[in-house]
Amino acid sequence: MIRLDAVTKSFTSRQGAAPALHGIDLSVGEGEIFGIIGASGAGKSTLVRLINLLERPTSGDVSIAGRRVTDLTGRDLHALRRSIGMVFQHFNLLSGRTVARNVAYPLELAGQLTKAQIAEKVAALLARVGLSDHAGKYPRQLSGGQKQRVGIARALANDPKVLLCDEATSALDPQTTGQVLDLLQEINRDLGVTIVMITHEMEVIRRACDRVAVLEKGRVVEEGPVTSVFLHPAHPVTRALVREAEGDAALVATDAAPGLHLRLTFTGAGAHQPLLGRIARDFGVDFAILGGRVGHIRTTPFAQFSIALTGGNGSAAMTALRAAGVTVEVIEGAAPTFAPARVERQFHVV
């Protein structure tokens, strides 16, 4: 649906050209919720603004639905932008317009509907985001979550195929963040809209995204399905982001505990099987839990433990675990990083 080919972007200032993005190759599938995560200044906003050409790439190409759009101008550019909705961190609503007239704004710009048709469409959009009762209010009379719902309704007004969200939940409290993420997923499911979601929080990626790219200093350092990037982060930046969201115990590498150190990852239905006890009995092994985390990635349940295996037939136990669909990684001995007591406290069940 969206392709970036070797896209670079530099900003020229008095100090010279400052590269913000280096050779970005990305491809976002149709109907996907694609997350882009990175620290402040990594280039996330620049990247997402390239998609609707609010920024022009310095080199490389942008394609939407198989069409190269890099050089579009004038009417073609405006038409392209109408087919791509955008949601902003600070909502960017027109303060002088009511909620209903904010949602009507893109429809007025498109100029294809009559007043009555616009009113009808606005009512439907407000119903979708649950704001029917607030149509006549001004943005300043709304809470942050409500403002963002207006922003989402407005972004959907021209029936876009793609929705770009630049930190859409970063100005909201955790509960409201959850509601807005649920709404975006609902829109993705019901309307088949492809969503690109920018965030600096792994939590947002875990809850809402199918795939993710990790951006650092203008480069994609890791990319893949959220299930693999989140559970098996490879790049230090990704690991840091996961740790920030999940606590130190999530990725505990090794420990002073004796035995064979393994990281076991259960996903899907397997996350709920009473597997460990059975394996321990069958193969005469003991294990100590060094760290771990349990939760959901979108709707997929997962459980991940770092354990120290002692006694019995370790390698047979590993084979049996793998046969049961568990991902088993052997943790090579690194210096112990966390004390077990701390690790256990971090253990949590969602």
């Binding site: 109408r82 791509i84 955008m86 909502f91 027109l94 303060s95 002088g96 704004y105 300043r140 972004a155």
Partner: protein, 219 residues
């Protein structure tokens, strides 16, 4: 009675002259200054049509006009005024210099008011497929409405001041009356009455401006 020495009919005429001058020149100032202000805004740095050279040139000319004291502008412009309106006296003679004197000032206020508009709103409008012109007329100007009303208010008050000054060169109005009677004939009462009326006028303009600003501020 002191008020017996005041010719109220004269004051009435002068007041209506002042109101006419302020009204007409305010209208013309807005008609000319608003597009200039928009032009300053859109050609300014970081805006959709940024044109450093055009902006610099326009800015330079407006600054020159603004740095000439109005009383001197009145005199310097006399020949041009006569060319345009056929006279440099009375209401007709004074409107041209009034507009020349205030339009650049108003244009600057417009530029400032437009710059106050949240950049995010402009970006959102562009992202929704609005052309830069649609963005300016449908998003920026409406969002700047309270600021623009405040700019008109301040300009109207400056015009009251300038019309009074133009009395010195025979422009008519309350200023003219005050100078003729108060200064040249030592009838201080008339001058006082004129000044009080001017004060009330300014207060009235400011109060109405403020209430309009409040009415249109939705932030």
């Amino acid at each position: 009675m002191w008020s017996d020495r005041i010719n109220w009919a004269d004051i009435g005429t002068a007041l209506s002259q002042t109101l006419t001058m302020v009204g007409i020149s305010l209208l013309l100032t807005v008609l000319i200054g608003l597009p200039l202000g928009i032009l300053l805004f859109v050609t300014g740095k970081g805006q959709p049509f940024a044109r450093p050279l055009g902006y610099g040139a326009l800015s330079f000319v407006l600054n020159i006009i603004r740095s000439v004291p109005f009383i001197i502008l009145l005199i310097v412009l006399m020949p041009v005024t006569v060319l345009i309106t056929g006279t440099s006296l009375g209401i007709r003679g004074v409107i041209f210099p009034l507009v020349v004197g205030t339009a650049p000032f108003f244009a600057r206020l417009v530029e400032t008011a437009l710059r106050e508009v949240d950049r995010g709103v402009i970006e959102a409008s562009l992202a929704m497929g609005a052309s830069p012109i649609q963005t300016i007329f449908r998003a920026v100007l409406p969002e700047a409405l309270p600021g623009l009303i405040a700019a008109v208010t301040v300009t109207a008050i400056v015009l009251v001041d300038y019309t009074a000054m133009s009395g010195a060169i025979g422009g008519g109005g309350l200023g003219d009356l005050a100078i003729r009677y108060g200064y040249h004939r030592f009838q201080t009462e008339i001058m006082l009455v004129c000044v009080v009326i001017l004060i009330l006028l300014v207060q009235l303009i400011q109060a109405s401006g403020n209430s309009l600003v409040t009415r249109f501020t939705r932030r």
